[in-house]
């Protein structure tokens, strides 16, 4: 947030003085009622002081413009994701902001409310420190509609992100997306009927734990993409999630990278390093259980980013409960696995950076103790001459990543 905005926080709250103390739920410094005008709600959010809590009362709030939060240390709270519903279906005019709640203040928390039918993203935080999203529902009424907003929960460029106990469905890109951030925890969420359930993109040090991803086109992704200011996506600890039956339609706009995600994908690692995928239930995803790919410009688009590392290295997929994936593959998987049927649970494209010295095995993508899951070495970069299903070369271990959650 801009330092100058501190002045607003210091101004006497003649601003919020219309708040009736009797109407304030416990722990709330300001209350916004369903029949308050959206601009009154925005004014309360602007004039609330650092450290205060702004509460949305029970009811349905019909809003036709984005709410923005620029103040540091603000808590925004509803009465519960069923009780408090912010409905943005009327938000159809450009210039009013496309998102539900847009955050540029540090240490902001949004919790216990629903956001419905935003034109853009449900909640968005840009370049902030320690943002938390808790007990939120973000959804779109029309299923699998390309015109739905792109992202349910969208922190980008943040240091310190917590997304917990949220439910997101209907996003035309990704339900819970974390981009270009560090120190991220995504836990205990349910994501379904989005193009992608959860994506960790160009982000370092994250933990994705105990989430349920189902009925998306792709369950959980960790991507590292070129031509973005923050590079070096690595170290996602993706564990103890349920990634089941992600066989939804991919209804993303064709220009978006997630439009390449084959329907029926469980976990997809793209050009990202040193991730640990363990203890997950990965079942009934019709294209592939776990896929580790390099960024092939022919498949994903050309890039000119000299700092970009297109090879996934040092990933470790272990102790997952993997079953019944690859029964009816779609999209890219069909291209890559042309003659494999049924398609395997686990796969690596086999592309390796010739400039790396991997004599100690640190860059190997390892697979271990995944029950009787089958495996496919695509030999994508080697011209497919040596495709095989032998796991010997990739049966190895790396050091486990530390858990980030307390």
């Amino acid at each position: 947030m801009k330092p100058g905005a501190l002045l607003f926080a210091l101004l006497p709250c003649a601003c919020g003085s219309e708040d009736d103390p009797a109407a304030l739920p416990e722990g709330c410094d300001h209350a916004i009622a369903p029949d308050d005008d959206v601009r009154d709600a925005q004014r309360v959010l602007i004039e609330a002081a650092e450290g205060e809590t702004v509460c949305f009362l029970e009811g349905t709030f019909s809003y036709d413009m984005e709410l923005s939060v620029g103040t540091n240390d603000l808590s925004i709270r509803g009465a519960g994701m069923v009780e408090t519903v912010l409905d943005f279906v009327a938000q159809q005019t450009g210039g009013t902001g496309a998102n539900g709640i847009s955050i540029t203040g540090d240490r902001v928390t949004v919790e216990a409310l629903s956001i419905v039918d935003t034109d853009g993203d449900g909640v968005r935080a840009t370049d902030v420190t320690d943002v938390a999203f808790r007990d939120l529902s973000v959804s779109w009424t029309t299923p699998a509609d390309r015109d739905n907003g792109g992202y349910g929960v969208y922190p980008v460029g943040c240091t310190g992100v917590l997304v917990e106990r949220c439910a997101v469905s209907g996003a035309s890109d990704t339900g819970i997306y974390v981009g270009q951030s560090t120190d991220v925890i995504v836990r205990d969420n349910e994501v379904f009927e989005n193009v992608v359930g959860i994506e960790i993109e160009n982000t370092r040090d994250s933990e994705v734990v105990r989430n349920r991803a189902h009925d998306n086109a792709g369950g959980i992704l960790a991507f590292n993409l070129p031509n973005l200011p923050t590079q070096g996506g690595a170290r996602a600890k993706i564990h103890d999630n349920e990634i089941v039956g992600n066989n939804g339609r991919n209804f993303a706009d064709s220009a978006n990278i997630v439009s390449k995600v084959p329907p029926g994908t469980g976990i997809f690692l793209l050009a990202t390093d040193d991730n640990e995928i363990h203890g997950n239930v990965i079942a009934d995803n019709a294209s592939i259980g776990v896929s580790i790919l390099s960024y092939d410009p022919k498949l994903f688009g050309e890039f000119t980013d000299s700092a970009y590392d297109s090879y996934p290295t040092g990933n470790w997929v272990h102790d997952n409960d993997v079953s019944n994936n690859g029964t009816d593959a779609d999209g890219l998987v069909e291209i890559l696995f042309a003659d494999q049927e049924p398609f395997p649970d686990l796969s690596w494209d086999g592309c390796e950076n010739p400039d790396l010295d991997n004599s100690d095995g640190r860059y190997t993508n390892c697979f271990s103790d995944n029950g009787d899951a089958d495996y496919f070495f695509m030999d994508w970069c080697g011209g497919k001459a040596a495709q095989h299903n032998d796991m010997t070369d990739v049966t190895c271990e790396h050091d486990p990543l530390p858990a980030l959650e307390e």
């Binding site: 006497p12 602007i46 450009g94 220009a255």
Partner: protein, 326 residues
């Protein structure tokens, strides 16, 4: 400008709007002489003009600087100028001659603070408001006055508020003063805004997007003025990797054959920000022409697309040698 001994502080228990900045009404500042809506600058209020203006839904803008008496700004060719505490930058918006809103950026100890004043129907007074407004101008055109958070949507970068107009590349142009066409930088020095005249060959300068410079310079100037406050490193759109500063020299960084990353529906099925020779296949023009909130660019706060701006960018892209984007 005696009143500029600014006692900048919270109101404490004082009633708001008496004796402290920001004032509740615009008239308290005493910026203008005569009928206030005519915005005739009082002594010490210095008008300035930019080379390339930000599209503002057909509204006209007048711009002024007010520096504390006896103080000057320190010039910087490429970066922000350094302004003395208490400097006020004024942008006044009118439609067909009627005063609509006036925005101030005031440099306080902690940085620039934004304030918005909405004029009454009689054009006698403008009152401060923080929550923005949805008003009608002229013959029924809807117009959005931004809330003060939205000011940061353009002015905030790297956690600090920045000026967007009083920059060398925008100020380095000719202006007409007392009937003479003269360099604005020298004129600002003569007015005491700058300590000395920095005019020199090679200083950055944007072109008038609708003037007679060659099309690439006009197009890059337009994108700089309308987009680069976000689309640059540290800006709100910097995360996209698309950099629309006129000084950017890498074609991919300013969009040529650059695929979108998180455009959502904003891509409109098009594959690259700029496809040389093919404006109808370029995302940049698609988003500029849209008024759908999820698609349109800039995101805030315009309701109308700038048809002349879209035409300019289309002309520029159409004139590029088709190369195909891989």
């Amino acid at each position: 400008m005696r009143w500029l001994a600014l006692a900048i502080a919270g109101c404490g228990s004082e009633p708001p709007g008496r004796g402290t900045i920001p004032y509740e009404t615009l008239s308290e500042y005493g910026f203008f002489e005569g009928r206030m809506a005519d915005v005739a600058p009082a002594d010490g209020v210095v008008p300035y003009e930019v080379a390339a203006s930000l599209w503002a839904d057909r509204l006209d803008k007048d711009r002024f600087l007010v520096l504390p008496e006896g103080e000057t700004a320190a010039f910087d060719a490429a970066g922000d100028w350094t302004w003395p505490a208490g400097t006020i930058v004024i942008k006044h918006f009118s439609f067909e001659g009627r005063a609509i809103e006036t925005r101030l950026l005031i440099l306080e100890d902690l940085g620039w603070a934004a304030h918005v004043y909405l004029w009454d129907d009689a054009e006698r007074q403008a009152r401060r408001l923080v929550e923005g407004a949805d008003v009608t101008v002229g013959d029924g055109q809807r117009y959005l006055v931004p809330n003060v958070n939205q000011c940061g949507g353009c002015h905030e970068r790297d956690d600090a508020m920045h000026l967007l107009g009083p920059l060398t590349r925008q100020m380095n142009r000719e202006v007409t003063r007392d009937g003479d066409v003269i360099g604005q930088l020298g004129w600002l020095a003569a007015q005491g805004v700058l300590g000395s005249d920095p005019t020199a060959d090679g200083l950055p300068a944007l072109a008038d997007p609708f003037g007679d410079a060659e099309v690439e310079l006009r197009a890059r100037s337009y994108l700089d003025a309308n987009c680069s406050h976000c689309h640059r490193e540290g800006g709100g759109g910097g995360r996209s990797g698309l950099t629309l500063l006129a000084s950017e020299t890498d074609p991919v960084s300013y969009g040529v054959c650059k695929p979108p990353v998180a455009a959502g529906a904003g891509a409109g099925g098009r594959s690259h920000d700029i496809v040389p020779g093919l404006p109808d296949e370029s995302i940049v023009t698609y988003r500029m022409a849209s008024t759908d909130p999820e698609i349109k660019m800039p995101e805030l706060p315009n309701l109308l697309s700038d048809a002349a701006g879209v035409a300019l960018i289309e002309e520029w892209i159409a004139g590029m040698t088709p190369q195909g984007c891989p």
